[in-house]
């Protein structure tokens, strides 16, 4: 990894307000290929808002988000046309929702869900699409025999795996994840985290993960950003922020984890 490479994703002064209510304020960040950035904070901290600002879903009141395309060209995420951003969302980017129902087509089989992105970018060979879908189901540790089953028949953890497979099939370089393990049983969470860690490492995926769970952040992220009231109060290496928090709020957050 060359030290002088430019960031894959960069935010400068990102500010988003909902009328008089501040969503997030003056946020800077940069993310390099293969890095996982965790954004932690409690409800209302602005972390989900920030995530959606970075992915271009929210319009900004201030600041800029820049993404480095595969060509090396740096593009302003919000200045892009809707079709360009949509294309990015289908190929180079992934968005994993907390509730898998928000990220899956519930009326389409598992294979159809995983194959959709491939079809959306022009794949027209049924056999190949199906084969790739099977590969990915196995990669996310789901049985290939379930390829024709509807998502309704899957457990929450499996639906989440399906959502992950659906997103990663086009080998994106950047994934946005909003509480990917929220709402899952603890053991299911653990296995999902393992899976994510493995995939992130195998694909060299850069990730922005929003979570309120510091254990998830420690498990997955290299770097951490702590948010409170829409602002970033501390940022740094995950182990540093968790082992030697400097800001009062970070210290409170860390001390709130019950140790075994």
């Amino acid at each position: 990894m060359s030290i002088d490479e430019i960031p894959l994703l960069q935010a400068a002064g990102v500010t988003k307000a909902f009328g008089p209510v501040t969503g997030c304020f003056n946020v800077d960040l940069d993310l390099f290929p293969g890095e996982v950035l965790g954004i932690v904070g409690e409800s209302g901290s602005g972390k989900s808002t920030l995530l959606r600002c970075l992915s271009g879903e929210h319009e900004l009141q201030g600041g800029q988000v820049t993404y480095t395309l595969r060509t090396g060209e740096r593009a302003d995420v919000h200045a892009m046309s809707a079709p360009e951003r949509r294309m990015l969302m289908r190929t180079d980017w992934a968005f994993v929702h907390q509730n898998p129902r928000d990220g899956l087509r519930m009326g389409v089989s598992a294979g159809g869900n995983v194959g959709e992105r491939l079809m959306a970018v022009g794949n027209r060979h049924y056999g190949n699409i199906r084969g790739t879908a099977i590969d990915w189901l196995e990669k996310v540790e789901m049985s290939a025999t379930r390829i024709d089953d509807m998502p309704e028949t899957f457990s929450g953890g499996m639906q989440q795996r399906l959502q992950i497979a659906r997103n990663l099939v086009t080998r994106p370089r950047l994934a946005f994840m909003d509480e990917p393990t929220g709402g899952l049983d603890v053991s299911v969470q653990a296995r999902l985290l393992d899976l994510l860690r493995g995939l992130v490492s195998e694909l060299g995926l850069a990730c922005v993960i929003v979570t309120h769970d510091l254990a998830v952040a420690r498990h997955l992220s290299h770097r951490l950003m702590v948010m409170k009231g829409g602002e970033v109060v501390e940022t740094g290496l995950t182990d540093q922020v968790l082992d030697d928090p400097q800001h009062a709020y970070s210290q409170l957050l860390v001390s709130s984890i019950l140790r075994a």
């Binding site: 079709p83 959709e116 079809m119 027209r124 049924y126 199906r130």
Partner: protein, 295 residues
């Protein structure tokens, strides 16, 4: 009596301002092949679901010297075809025919005539649901965005699902097509058998959906390709039988139950085409059995 009735209607029922509005929509539709143009669909003297879209399009383009043919499932004699033809006879006093080759304007429900279309003809399709993606994506906001951004992955997902469930693409009518390499369009509930006729057609093809308030069009000689997969290519329906009346082996056949003992026969769905063949001397193996009685 007839004189009074004639004077009670504007030509072809619609007022001139409405026709103007519809013609504008049609021009836009022709300029953007396959794109669904919204229009201010009027209340017609028949309920939604009975061809009001087709009737409005026909009314807007009909001229005094037009010769109109109206078919329903290939037949000129069904109730709907008869009603609509009489509607225009009454309100426009135009000449009507049941011969495809003599018609200048053909309004159709669910079939394209077997007789090849000629340059200068207009065919008007009655469309119930104009949005090909509707059953996959119920949100209008989403389908509009998909069309605008040429985001048609979902359409192929539907075909994928068919193959995974049935081993083949199970859609047999209203089979989606890509028009002019750009918009994915619903050809109306015509059988997929008819899809090839739409490609590079010399006639102007107009589509009207009254309830949904959309008009779309395919100008003459436009490329129309049925969606498929490389390893599951589009194929039209085939029958083992030929038409029992005229012997045609390459038309869309209807199955007719002839008695209560399971007797059945297959005849051309396009009644005009079948009669033309019989007039020319062709015979099927039951040519004598039923004289000119198609469904």
């Amino acid at each position: 009596m007839m004189k009074t009735t004639e004077q009670a209607y504007n030509f072809a029922y619609l007022d001139e301002q409405t026709k103007r509005m519809i013609r504008r929509a049609i021009l836009k539709a022709v300029a953007i092949p396959g794109y669904q143009v919204p229009f201010a669909s009027r209340e017609m003297p028949m309920p939604y679901g009975w061809g009001t879209g087709g009737v409005q399009v026909t009314a807007a383009v009909l001229g005094r010297r037009d010769i109109l043919k109206v078919i329903d499932q290939g037949s000129d004699d069904t109730t709907n075809a008869v009603s609509i033809r009489q509607f225009f006879e009454k309100t426009a006093a135009v000449q009507t025919t049941d011969r495809t080759k003599d018609a200048t304007l053909i309004q159709t429900r669910h079939r394209i005539p077997e007789t090849p279309m000629k340059a200068g003809q207009i065919i008007v399709y009655q469309v119930p649901i104009p949005e090909p993606l509707r059953f996959l994506e119920p949100r209008e906001t989403e389908t509009r965005r998909m069309h605008a951004q040429e985001d048609y992955g979902l359409m192929h997902v539907k075909l994928y699902e068919d193959i995974s469930r049935h081993g083949h693409i199970a859609t047999t009518y209203a089979y989606p097509v890509r028009v002019n390499g750009r918009y994915v369009t619903d050809p109306s509930p015509t059988p997929k058998f008819d899809n090839p006729k739409m490609n590079n057609c010399p006639a102007l093809q107009l589509f009207g959906a009254g309830r949904e308030k959309r008009i779309y069009a395919i100008p003459p000689y436009t490329e129309v390709v049925s969606l498929d997969f490389e390893d599951h290519p589009f194929a039209i329906q085939q029958w083992d039988q030929d038409c029992a009346l005229c012997g045609a082996g390459d038309t869309f056949l209807d199955e007719i139950i002839t008695d209560d003992r399971g007797g059945r026969m297959f005849v051309c769905s396009d009644s005009d085409y079948c009669r033309e063949r019989r007039d020319a001397g062709h015979e099927g193996d039951q040519a004598g059995a039923n004289s000119g009685e198609a469904a």
